[in-house]
């Protein structure tokens, strides 16, 4: 059994920036992983007291309950606009939005393109789970070709419904953006890399280097109709082909950041 009389060092524990309450997320949903990584980055940077989060509409609508930091909740798709206002009035605060793909890449596409093109000094944590989770798994702009969803029961037909929107690639073409990367939460290694990217994105903002966005490939076991373990395999086997991981925009000033 576990030997408890030998002295131990805690090498991993729940971050302080995470609220002690239990989340409403489904078992195995990687929204929870993304929350924890954001909280760890804020703990490490000593920015807990100084950060303002902007929650979006989607399963993460209650994100404000899950962090021990100041938080507001934006109208659907409008988190980048709200974050813009907050950051311009309180430029010394660390301001980030936390948005799903329905929120950011559908109803909120105009807002995110505007914020990135203006080079707003905000950070965006973008959860791409290829569906509208909260409302019952409808097709999102990010759903894969052929993907069966509750609103595309025979699979997404790209000739009628278009192709998946590759947000990181798209925003990286804007002169105003500074740090745009895509990571994934489907295994330990990529989760570690995602954490580093989140930390870098916050660092970009702290140093006043411009607009930063981390796209995270995420799961929705409930609406994809599979177990949590299977859903991570689905990210690896299906999503990675359409959403290659990588650094899409790293401005020269950002490239000098050392973490």
């Amino acid at each position: 059994m576990v030997v408890t009389d030998i002295p131990t060092k805690i090498v991993y524990e729940r971050p302080e920036a995470l609220d002690p309450r239990v989340t409403h997320y489904c078992p195995g949903c990687t929204h929870g992983v993304a929350h924890r990584l954001v909280a760890e980055a804020l703990d490490e940077m000593g920015e807990v007291e100084n950060t303002i989060g902007v929650a979006s509409v989607g399963c993460s609508v209650f994100a404000y309950n899950y962090f021990n930091i100041d938080f507001v909740e934006a109208a659907h798709g409008r988190a980048p606009a709200m974050a813009t206002g907050i950051k311009r009035v309180l430029p010394d605060r660390l301001v980030f939005t936390y948005q799903g793909d329905g929120d950011l890449a559908s109803i909120g596409m105009g807002e995110i393109v505007g914020a990135a093109s203006r080079g707003e000094q905000i950070t965006v944590i973008f959860i791409n789970n290829a569906t509208y989770g909260m409302t019952g798994g409808q097709m999102a702009p990010t759903s894969l070709p052929g993907q069966v969803t509750s609103s595309s029961p025979t699979g997404r037909d790209v000739t009628r419904q278009g192709h998946p929107i590759q947000t990181a690639e798209l925003l990286s073409t804007l002169t105003g953006s500074s740090y745009i990367v895509r990571r994934s939460l489907h295994n330990f290694r990529e989760t570690r890399r995602a954490k580093k990217a989140i930390r870098t994105a916050f660092e970009v903002q702290k140093q006043g280097l411009g607009f930063s966005l981390v796209e995270l490939l995420s799961n929705c076991p409930t609406n994809w109709g599979m177990s949590a373990v299977e859903s991570r395999d689905w990210i690896e086997e299906r999503m990675l082909a359409f959403y290659p991981l990588g650094d899409y925009k790293v401005s020269s000033a950002v490239a000098d950041i050392k973490i």
Binding site: M1, P7, T8, K9, V11, E13, G28, C29, S227, R232
Partner: protein, 79 residues
Amino acid sequence: MPAKGYIIVNELYCKACELCVTDCPHEVLALDMERLTSRGYHPAHMVKPEACTACSICAVVCPDAAITVHRYEKQKAEG
């Protein structure tokens, strides 16, 4: 090889998703089918504690930040 540490699962948070069970490289973990948490889940627990390397993989993949990882401190040589 003796254990290099151990993990504690906070059962308030565990939702029995099995991601830690699947990802532990040494098959240390399993869901405890004999017990239910206050929220009605079979919690993850250690079934092969002697194989734990305190690598933290289980804690990093846990979506509910339920796992704390303890690593044994190096013991001073006797004598």
